[in-house]
Symmetry: C2
Subunit: 457 residues, 2 copies
């Protein structure tokens, strides 16, 4: 196995795939978003492809506006498994692939989140990751005693403290705290138990966590971090960033921006892997690849295309489909809305052209071509300061992922850019991220030793 | 398979077992409370015994006071898996046994809980159950922004509304809502989606749930319900009650009290299965059984025995071990404290004798003897209005459970009191509890039909 820098791969295995019309694809199981065997097949395909991780996006509510009316019932973006339960099940039918679940910091309690991910890390023997998000939609807010989502600053303040508390709880026990000596009856060494006793503006959490330190020391932390505060939080705490960019120069700027912030937190740039999303559609020929994608594009109904735009730009159904994209009066998610508008303005796109342009990757990079084309696209970003790896967004599942595993992975391996076998049993090990030293280990023992030393003088 | 009334069995598979010294038992894996394979073995043993369900107790924090100091580090009641992640994993290595997880209503949000149990029900193909509890200890409160637990009334008011919201969310979609017609592009029938829009004193939850209606219609609801409000909540909403009683007359009174309350909620008594806990210790002879139990009793250290009492009666370490149990000045959990005091008073027990008396079943019924003795004890309660089945509390795991499966189950089968094969693929089916009709199904369609009818007149 190569010791030089290698491309990391993840798969975002949302429901039937990323494309708006995925569930209508002839090869997709139409009800797969609620079928366990569908996800077993997807995760096992990714593991066959030696992917670092399978990633499960999530919302705490339906996050697709029924605007214009009829949009929602024509998509499959309605029901799904809850990520931590699903990934715990998938841990039992996989061996090496990392399992990353999204959990929101906005309507959760850190103690619950710390426990669940620690538990998944034990169940999977060191393959758990937490994708840290804030919940931005009012649709989700209404499931949690609110009418509207908290504002940007409030969400990020809470998220930063939330992550701090979770990381602290994961250090409740030192690695070798549990002696479990049946003869003496001592179960754990009390000097290796650390009570967090956190008191902050959002949370008061005493601890300790009632889960032992995990096989990875701590589950891997993943973030998206597009905005200013998001980048800062990622630089401070993330192991992996799931980025979104269409163009090399944007990806480079983002990469430099996040890595450049790490020094102030005492972190080396290599400690964080930046993995932009990429929708890769391989074919044996370019024509075959384009034909594959066209199958999906032709299945996008206008009501669904408008619905997809409405989630960011508001309802545009009052404007002509073939006309230009108007300046939106009701932007719903600022950073993604801006990506959509940039795409429209750069290409001079009509409303219909815009929704078709984002129907696949929802603003992520789209590459359609031969395995060589796709490997070229990845290599360019990987070698030019734009990416440490990629999150694959399959347009439909499982076929769209299986195509990447069977066609693109061998081409990356041929170039020496990708592993030919897993390096480690843990996600952290495969990503090449260092073991997280326990920040409080030895502190109590040092204090005791000092006290004993003083007494001896 | 018999069509007459049969005994239901569950197993409470807490950590290394129910006995205080379980982890020190020569055959117990000392670190099993954090070993997945330990729970795989336990659950598979219960399934071999055709148990209705495996039940996982839980606390959102360590719930064992370190009083007197040193008590906590000499028990294994410190770390554990989080129940929903663990049971999701165990769903993959079992086929028929029900999987019941405890989740607190005190520091959770109903939307999260509804999703996770619905997801587990889909993962397990209809074997999920939710043990509804309130969190009573201050130790848990301190992990959730509080210094003390809410009072009894506040906890039960919240719990009752919490269950109502969860049940409503589980009815967000009708069973046949998802048509998933690839040709027309219609994913679901909008007339079969129900928005909850709950506004209550504790919760404002719009819905819909982003999980389809589950294989069981709704996960099975389990409760303990010892107190007045607990009994009322159980009578109103529970499918199973996990009761605690030492004596036949107490169990009968409890059984009659809960079943007697059901009519006012329009429920038949058979709709609820009352299953008291029982610690059963079988041996080929009575002497062998007693010797087995003595192995554990001899491993109870005084500091741990006092610790176990302190959780209910406060710290008694200032009183002589061989002296009488004093009237406690610091009762921590009223109903269990009363059970402990009754045991002490009835037997005229010393402090040491009391902690040894409750070291096993923590106040639940204890039966040590031959398989015939244990089957007699179960049959007496089952036939005399005290129980519909039993939750087995194995003193240690997995051996204590395997003994019951291998010795007691065949005796119950010989008497025609217990199944010889599972009747159903779902927990609800095995328990013999009716399918929960969707309370809002057809409502929209009826309204539409009426509107169309009016228009036609």
């Amino acid at each position: 196995m190569a010791s030089h820098r290698q491309i990391r791969l993840g798969v975002s295995m949302i429901g039937l795939g990323y494309h708006l019309a995925a569930w209508r694809h002839p090869d997709a199981p139409a009800g797969g978003n609620m079928e366990l065997q569908h996800f077993v097949r997807v995760t096992q395909a990714a593991e066959r492809g030696l992917f670092d991780m399978a990633f499960l996006a999530d919302g705490v509510g339906i996050r697709f506006h029924d605007e214009p009316p009829g949009a929602l019932c024509h998509t499959s973006k309605n029901v799904q498994f809850e990520p931590l339960t699903l990934l715990s099940a998938l841990a039992m039918v996989t061996e090496r692939i990392g399992l990353v679940a999204t959990a929101s910091t906005t309507y959760n309690e850190p103690y619950h989140v710390a426990r669940k991910f620690a538990s998944l890390d034990h169940i999977s023997d060191g393959r758990a990751g937490w994708n840290v998000v804030t919940s931005v939609t009012d649709m989700e807010a209404r499931n949690f005693n609110r009418d509207k989502a908290p504002g940007y600053d409030a969400r990020y303040d809470r998220a930063a403290e939330f992550v701090e508390v979770v990381r602290g709880l994961w250090e409740s026990w030192e690695d070798d705290a549990f002696v479990r000596d049946k003869a003496s009856g001592l179960n754990y060494d009390p000097g290796k138990l650390h009570v967090l006793d956190h008191h902050g503006p959002h949370f008061q959490v005493r601890g300790p966590l009632n889960v032992a330190r995990t096989p990875q020391g701590a589950p891997v932390i993943v973030q998206a971090g597009a905005s200013e505060q998001g980048r800062e939080l990622a630089a401070a705490t993330a192991d992996v960033v799931y980025a979104a960019a269409q163009r090399l120069e944007d990806a480079q700027a983002y990469y430099a921006s996040v890595k450049g912030r790490m020094a102030r937190y005492g972190r080396a740039p290599e400690a964080l892997k930046i993995m932009p999303g990429i929708m890769a559609v391989p074919g044996r020929t370019r024509q075959e690849a384009e034909d594959k994608y066209a199958v999906l594009q032709e299945l996008v109904q206008p009501v669904v295309g408008l619905g997809a735009l409405s989630n960011y730009l508001g309802d545009l159904s009052g404007f002509p489909l073939e006309g230009p994209v108007p300046e939106p009066t009701n932007r719903r998610m600022h950073s993604r809305a801006q990506i959509f508008l940039d795409i429209a303005r750069r290409g001079g796109l009509s409303i219909r052209q815009l929704y078709l342009a984002v129907a696949g990757g929802n603003g992520h990079r789209l590459v359609i071509g031969t395995p060589v084309d796709i490997a070229d696209a990845m290599e360019e970003w990987f070698l030019n300061g734009a990416a440490d790896g990629f999150n694959i967004l399959p347009p439909w599942l499982p076929g769209g992922l299986e195509d990447v595993v069977e066609m693109v992975v061998p081409e990356l391996q041929r170039r020496g850019l990708y592993r030919t076998g897993y390096e480690s049993r843990t996600l952290r090990g495969n990503l090449g991220i260092a073991w997280p030293e326990h920040r409080r280990a030895g502190v109590k023992r040092a204090a005791i030793a000092q006290a004993l030393g003083s007494a001896a003088q």
